[in-house]
């Protein structure tokens, strides 16, 4: 097979090249840096929250003093006196709101889009995404979205302070344009997600290398595909929910105002119809990625490929049927609560299949403890813990006690930091040599893993304890029984932050090095036989000069166990 000469796509150089590029690899890298930089911003916001909560001035006796009208308490970072930012806890609420919004819309979702963009076309043997210009547009939409959200800190009234959930009537009542800017930011970020999702669905459906059937597709491509379907279905619904807030705020439509015949719980249902699947948007691609990592560093092939595909799809399907477990306390009929309880517990089944299959993938292998593998192993440990908390929270009667306490915060941070962020770091260390041609420093990587693992355990483990003791979420003051737990949590936060900074340092250091990574730097392709390790690091423009050979490895079948090079 010989191909016509590839067109030259480099029209500009330098910054203009990056701005005008429609190359999926460059867009993937831009997604990556965008996500990482906003990760540092979101982490900084978390730091402000932790600083307030570690301050002894935030404790209960000041609540009491304040309740008595003796407002002499400084109340920590965001208190009434000596305040760093303003004169009220509104600033604290802005921090929690923006921490969540930044981390969800500008860090975790774009970060998986980064790997999806870069790796998936290569994995399926395509030269680019189906709609390269739409791909670039989807990325550049994130920039005004992020600017709108973060600029709201500087407008009159400050940023949105009603939580990332923006429940009405609080979100409808707040002053200033901050909440409106938040809504518009969510609209733009959502549009970006939808365009990206369409692009992935079309690319994966139509542009697989000849001979690669659906069930020969690598699991990361499968995960990105299923993830894109979730995004395509769910994200417009989020748009609808926040649009109602926008209308109620500016045009007095009263859609969510019970005094005007609206219904505040309507918002919650619609919001969580997006935001529960969003939880899987933030983790499914990572599930796909570590399947490859486990296989690669155990020198084995993926165990139970078909079951993994089915499990991923069932998680996505069930993910659409459990949204109301976020809102049991709004008062629902018991039959409805029972359904949401059982369906939520049911998600544990496919998740369990995945965890056991990963363990079976490693069983009998020769495990090499590289940085990506360490992160992936740590992920299993932490994610199982996080998922366990989820099972407890799914039980309606128990949820009445735990809802809106720090137990919930601990639970979802275990799955999002111990889960998604660990997966992202694993993927970063695994694919960075391919994406840039530069290896990341292994010593830095392993050190960051140790900090990250212990940091997550300390930070979010203590949150489970304080939550089970009854500490409410989203409070800037609390009673003194919780102070040592909160200070421990803040110490854990520092460890996690150090880990993130080490990774950041390793990324910067790698960019200063020569691009000398081998095509198959992890020496995994003998057994894995995946397109991305068969081409150069970084891959050339358009990836493949020739139509790549049909996959040499059928993940469903034995028969290529005697390793053969992919090129034969």
């Amino acid at each position: 097979m010989s191909a016509a000469p590839l067109p030259e796509i480099k029209r500009y150089s330098g910054v203009l090249d990056w701005i005008s590029t429609v190359d999926h690899k460059k867009i993937g890298l831009m997604y990556f840096w965008f996500a990482f930089i906003f990760g540092l911003v979101g982490g900084g916001l978390a730091g402000a929250i932790r600083l307030q909560l570690a301050s002894p001035a935030a404790v209960w006796e000041y609540v009491q003093a304040a309740a008595m009208g003796l407002r002499e308490s400084p109340g920590g970072l965001f208190g009434t006196e000596n305040a760093l930012f303003s004169q009220s806890y509104t600033t604290f609420n802005q921090m929690t709101t923006m921490h969540a919004s930044v981390m969800i819309f500008f860090v975790i979702i774009p970060a998986f889009a980064a790997f999806g963009n870069y790796i998936v076309p290569i994995m399926i043997g395509a030269r680019d995404m189906a709609f390269p210009k739409m791909n670039a547009f989807a990325f550049w939409l994130l920039v005004p979205a992020a600017v709108l959200m973060l600029a709201s800190f500087f407008v009159q009234g400050g940023a949105a302070s009603s939580g990332w959930t923006a429940y009405p009537p609080l979100s409808v009542r707040s002053d200033g344009p901050g909440q409106d800017m938040w809504v518009l930011g969510v609209h733009l970020a959502g549009l970006s997600s939808i365009l990206g999702a369409i692009n992935f669905i079309v690319t994966i459906s139509n542009m697989r290398a000849p001979g690669m059937g659906w069930l020969q597709m690598p699991l990361f491509a499968w995960a990105t595909f299923i993830n894109s379907i979730i995004q395509l279905i769910a994200t417009p619904v989020l748009g609808a929910a926040v649009t109602m807030v926008l209308l109620d705020r500016n045009f007095n439509t009263g859609l969510l105002d019970s005094a005007k015949g609206g219904d505040p719980t309507l918002y919650q249902h619609i919001f969580w119809f997006y935001s529960h699947p969003a939880v899987y948007i933030m983790i499914l691609p990572g599930f796909g990625a570590i399947s490859h990592i486990f296989a690669a560093f155990s020198s084995k092939r993926i165990f139970g490929y078909f079951a993994m595909v089915i499990a991923t799809a069932s998680i996505a399907l069930l993910g659409f049927m459990v949204w109301a477990h976020h809102m049991f306390s709004i008062g629902m009929p018991p039959w409805l609560q029972t359904w949401f309880m059982i369906a939520s517990l049911g998600i544990g089944v496919p998740t369990g299949i995945k965890v056991f299959s990963w363990l079976a993938t490693m069983w009998g292998g020769n495990i090499r403890f590289t940085t990506p593998m360490l992160y992936a192993l740590g992920f299993i440990s932490l994610f199982v813990l996080g998922g366990f908390g989820g099972l407890i929270l799914a039980l309606v009667p128990v949820d009445y006690s735990l809802h809106d306490t720090y137990f919930v915060v601990g639970h979802f941070h275990y799955t999002l930091v111990g889960g998604s962020v660990m997966l992202l770091f694993a993927s970063t260390f695994y694919w960075w040599p391919k994406m840039t041609g530069r290896m990341l420093n292994e010593v830095a990587g392993r050190t960051s893993f140790v900090f990250m693992f212990i940091g997550v355990m300390v930070t979010f483990g203590t949150m489970h304890v304080s939550g089970a003791m009854g500490m409410a979420r989203r409070i800037g003051v609390y009673r003194e029984e919780f102070i040592w737990l909160n200070q421990l949590t803040t110490a854990g936060y520092l460890m996690t932050a150090i880990a993130a900074l080490i990774v950041f340092g390793a990324l910067i250091a790698s960019m200063l090095r020569k691009a000398d990574a081998k095509d198959d730097p992890w020496e995994v392709n003998d057994i894995q036989q995946s397109f991305e390790w068969a081409i150069s690091s970084p891959p050339p423009a358009y990836n493949f000069e020739h139509v790549p050979p049909i996959p040499v490895l059928d993940p469903m079948k034995h028969g290529h166990d005697e390793a053969k090079p992919a090129s034969t």
């Binding site: 009491q64 505040p264 306390s329 709004i330 069983w363 020769n366 407890i392 809106d404």
Partner: protein, 395 residues
């Protein structure tokens, strides 16, 4: 039935009337005990959600939580153990060992799919029963149950007792006043809000419900099983001072609960008298005593029942206690030594004033009552619940 009941009421009234011939002054210890019981300044160590259930429902929730926890526990431990096994057993020893080549195992896969399904079913059955039990206030309501309307408002709570006309408590004297419940008497809470969403919860009761703006109502029920002071707070982000939107509940024995109903029902005019008493100063005691005496006479003009006397005594004790509490709080929280010192002096002064002035009031009540003579208390307002009627007479 109604005839017999009203006969009993009439009989009880006449007995009470005879008893009132002797001025019914509650002894100081009883008044102090009540002041302490309903003290909004009370601070208790936090009780963990799953440690000290204070209602039947909370006990069931707790045992259900432990049951599920133990059934789920193997799925927490097993992967961690297998992970360690994998890490230690299958690490690359560089001994040329060939990695295994299996890629699936149907029996194993069916097993680890089916087993969790079975466990989910085992857990879901008792939990579903509990969901239905927790949900139905109407079916579980007994006729003598207490109903409390909980109204959230940025950043305080109001409680209304529709069975006791006019009985409302809330944020007063710069404090969130506790909601008072009766031990072993089922309570149905009706939640609503005046502005944004709130969530009312006392962890020890195992109850948490959102309060949506009226006209939406939410319901929850439970039966407190333990007397004491319980803490809670708002659990749904409701604005700037959400963290300070605290709440508390007192569970009292039946007699104390009835006394409290009485005390609250008579709070308005009793507190007027107490305010006058508090203005009384040593220097002009003679002049003020006349005014005070007139106020006490007016207070007892229509109703000289023992309950009304207790209310007056209570609110006097409450008033001094409140001021001492303020000073103690400054003592506890202030970082300025000057303020601390002055607070200490002030607290001592108020305590001395209380020991001096409360007997003055008691004497005044006694003389007023004997001067006005034994006059039976007027018949209490008719209320919906018979329990309530007898409660107000006995108090």
């Amino acid at each position: 039935m109604l005839l017999i009941r009203s006969l009993i009421v009439v009989l009880a009234l006449s007995i009470l009337g005879l008893a009132a011939a002797e001025p019914a002054l509650a002894d100081a210890e009883r008044v102090d005990a009540l002041v302490e019981l309903f003290d909004p300044n009370t601070q208790i160590p936090i009780e963990n959600t799953f440690q000290n259930p204070a209602s039947e429902l909370a006990e069931e929730v707790q045992s259900g939580a432990w049951f599920s926890f133990l059934l789920f526990l193997p799925f927490l431990i097993l992967p961690q153990v297998l992970l360690l096994v994998v890490i230690f057993k299958f690490r690359d020893r560089k001994d040329g060992r060939k990695p295994a080549t299996f890629i699936h195992n149907n029996k194993l896969e069916i097993f680890w799919t089916a087993l969790p399904v079975v466990v989910v079913i085992i857990v879901a059955i008792p939990m579903t029963q509990l969901v239905y039990k927790m949900d139905l206030p109407a079916a579980n309501a007994d006729q003598d149950g207490l109903t409390v309307v909980v109204i959230g408002k940025q950043f305080q709570w109001k409680y209304e007792y529709p069975q006791y006309p006019g009985l409302k408590v809330g944020y007063a004297d710069g404090r969130q006043q506790p909601v008072v419940l009766q031990k072993d008497r089922m309570v149905t809470l009706q939640f609503t809000s005046e502005d944004v969403n709130h969530a009312w919860s006392v962890p020890a009761f195992g109850v948490k419900k959102d309060c949506f703006p009226a006209p939406r109502f939410n319901y929850a029920w439970f039966t407190p099983t333990r007397t004491g002071f319980f803490d809670g707070q708002c659990y749904e982000l409701c604005g700037e001072d959400h963290g300070r939107m605290v709440l508390s509940a007192v569970v009292a024995e039946e007699a104390d609960f009835k006394a409290w109903v009485n005390i609250q029902s008579n709070s308005l005019d009793a507190r007027d008298v107490v305010e006058l008493l508090r203005k009384t100063d040593d220097s002009q005691l003679g002049e003020d005593v006349a005014a005070l005496s007139q106020a006490v006479t007016d207070y007892f003009a229509d109703d000289r029942s023992a309950g009304r006397t207790l209310a007056l005594q209570y609110w006097a004790g409450y008033s001094y206690n409140l001021d001492v509490g303020d000073q103690e709080k400054i003592l506890h929280t202030s970082r300025e030594n000057e303020r601390k010192a002055s607070a200490e002096v002030e607290a001592t002064r108020i305590r001395a004033l209380a020991t001096e002035q409360r007997p003055v009031l008691d004497n005044l009540i006694k003389t007023t009552l004997s001067r006005l003579g034994a006059k039976p208390a007027p018949a209490v307002e008719p209320t919906t619940s018979p329990t309530v009627a007898s409660g107000q007479q006995e108090g």
